[in-house]
């Protein structure tokens, strides 16, 4: 729960790009929420990045939602939609701890990749 911006993005900021720091290779790391149309928007943003002149080797756009388990979804819904922040945030964090290995595997896959991959968007 001490992770920066965990369960803190209001609906009005969905779509905003947040800088989270740099990895050990000096790459900038950002997060962006894309709402319920995340699948369509992630493809659109991927295409837009190419239009901005980025080569596939220069960026990684990764959909992290496949790592999110039911516990985290219920926690997030409780916090964001029902206003039960104290309960929802803890439930969401507990869900992340439960599925931590899937996040680790995703990060390892992204780190090992040499180029952006369509599979990262789904």
């Amino acid at each position: 729960m001490a992770v920066p911006r965990f369960d803190q993005t209001p609906n009005s900021e969905v779509g905003n790009l947040f800088f989270m720091g740099r990895d050990e290779q000096g790459n900038n790391v950002y997060i962006i929420g894309l709402g319920s149309q995340h699948r369509a928007f992630s493809h659109i943003i991927d295409q837009f990045l190419k239009l901005l002149g980025f080569q596939a080797e220069e960026y990684r756009l990764v959909n992290c939602l496949p790592c999110v388990n039911l516990t985290t979804r219920i926690g997030g819904y409780s916090s964001r939609s029902l206003g039960l922040v104290w309960f929802g945030r803890r439930l969401a964090a507990w869900g992340v701890r439960q599925s931590l290995q899937s996040y680790v595997r995703l990060v390892d896959r992204v780190r090992a990749s040499t180029t952006q991959q369509p599979a990262f968007l789904d």
């Binding site: 894309l34 943003i45 990045l49």
Partner: protein, 131 residues
Amino acid sequence: MRYRVFHSRTGAAALAAALRYTEEFSREAYFRLVRELPKTKQFVLCQQFHDETVLVVASGHEYGVLEHALPCLVEELRPNSAVVLTHCHPELRHLGSRLWLAKRHLLPGLVLRFWEGQLWNLVSRQEGVRH
């Protein structure tokens, strides 16, 4: 580099606005491209017009997310570029399902022509249309 993104729920109104903007609005051009619209995961039109890249996309119901995301990306990653987003109205209901049926030749000719006429009347009534 400037980017001009026209978007609407299904993309139909946005496509008409973009073609008007690039001075290529004709019934033939419009209907050639409108058939691409169900592909909501990509820009349907992408072309250069003077010093701008004109883009059209179907933004669905949560277009506010896209209106935040694209300018944020440009501001952070390409600060020397600019992006202008225009949300377009009006929209034809059930466009996606009608296009799905039309693509599979499941709409009788008369119904298809009626629907195309309806869509054309809707988009050509928008301001600034030249036939």
